[in-house]
Amino acid sequence: MALIRHEKSQVPVYGLLAEFDGPESLIEAAKRVHDQGYRQIDAYSPFPIEELSEATGHHHSKLPLIVLIGGLLGCVGGFSMQYYAAVIAYPINIGGRPFNSWPSFIPITFETTILCAAGAAVLGMLALNGLPMPYHPLFNVPEFSGASSDRFFLCIKARDKRFELERTRSFLEQLAPTQIHEVQP
């Protein structure tokens, strides 16, 4: 058992890339692939197709949580910074107001909240999608450049648990793609 699994991870391909000539056939294929139990799949099209993320089993993005945490840190951090400066480090009497003049801290707290939330959004997005990415195996397939003009692709990655080169290939052939490419890693 252990041996077979070991062999499987040795499969020297990144995945199989099926090429389609229209969005409908791509959506249909994505649905069937997902129904078959494949999870490590990705679809590529020249324009955004809304049904596609659903068809490929739209997974929940962690980004909103990252943004929320960034925002909360910015909020607490911004307020603490002002509290530290005005109450602990350098207390100074301004027009008889209390040192902890929280109403006047709110605008800056608000700004640091937005700043940190926006920063977390940008950095979190880059961390999650892995950009910038100078190399990607898909570009080993010359036809893949068609994904930005008039071709539609569906890729099943080799690291999927159900992936077996020949079985997966014959399954993909049933979905009537115009071509199937083996993607070198």
Binding site: G95, R97, P103, S104, I106, P107
Partner: protein, 391 residues
Amino acid sequence: MTPQTQATTQLAQRIIQWKTLARTVGIITGALSLVLWIYRPQIFYPAYLTGFIYWIHFSLGALAILMLSHVTGGSWGVVIRRILEAMCLAFPILAVAFIPILVGMQTYFPWAIAANVANDAALQHKALYLNIPFFIGRAIFYFGVWALLAHRLRTLSLEEDRLNRDEDLENHSRKLQRLSAPGLIVFGLTVTFASVDWIMSLEPHWFSTAFGLLFMGGCGAGVFALSILLLGRMLKHRPFLMNIKADHLHDLGKFLLAFVMLWAYLAFSQFLIIWSGNLPEETPWYLHRQSHGWQWIALLLIGFHFLTPLMVLLSRKVKRQRQPLMFVASGLLIMRYLDLYWHIMPNFKTHGLYHVLSVIPLVAIGSWWAWKVMSQLQQAPLLPKNMKSAS
């Protein structure tokens, strides 16, 4: 009878039921209000003004959002257009409801009593604006402008239902835009002055330049909350059933969130400016509202007019589902009342306790307002015919 017309009549019957209910409750609470007015005027007057402002603020919000949707387009505005129109068309009944306020002017407004003005230099300087004839004249002007705008918007909107050719529809929406764009400017000015007249001048020494905007922000939050509630109640019936998508609720939810934030932003700005300025003529207004029990209402407003709806409405799921969105909207409707209560009532009472009888004038005005809105909903198809035209 086809299933469609049958279902439409189902909703029409529901509206008739609501209307009858509103009229019955209106007659009873109206009579009770009259009794209250005669025997306990000191309770009646403040409660009546709060109730009046509460109901007119929905009509004002509806007028603004209606014009906004004509200027910007978008199918969110088309699905609630008839609801907004019905609310706007309640201005005549609100003008009648304004009469007791005119009768009680000297109870409400310190500047309306000659003896007060004679002993107060500030009031003498303000008398050029704050005097009884000018006040009445302005009120007539506001109601005239609002009713006229509402009437014209409704007429044009009904006319649109009779058009078929794309070209005509295009020209017609231009016409609505040409009315709505200047209409919004007129709205901004009249509502600012009206809020100064009817709410701010209750304490004539106090002033804040953000006040009109703050009131308008509240109008926006109020009308979206009420529209979501009404639409939610009618959603299961035709013609809404097939035409309202989760996207529409999502848009309305986003607007609700935006107005909640706008309200909070303006409310806090006003507070911060007065707090930083720390001037003796400005701070007493807040000091009074931060003690004697009023502070609890202020904290409720921070918690449930801002923090809770902000956190809940951030969720995409909540905005796209009828039940949770209606729940948030109902909560905000209560908060809208508390906000106005917190603005108006401290001028008349030293402590924040709610007097149970205050609810009578609120319900009385509300019932007659709802009766008028329901009558208007009856008189036109609940969805504009050319739904696509504005989307």
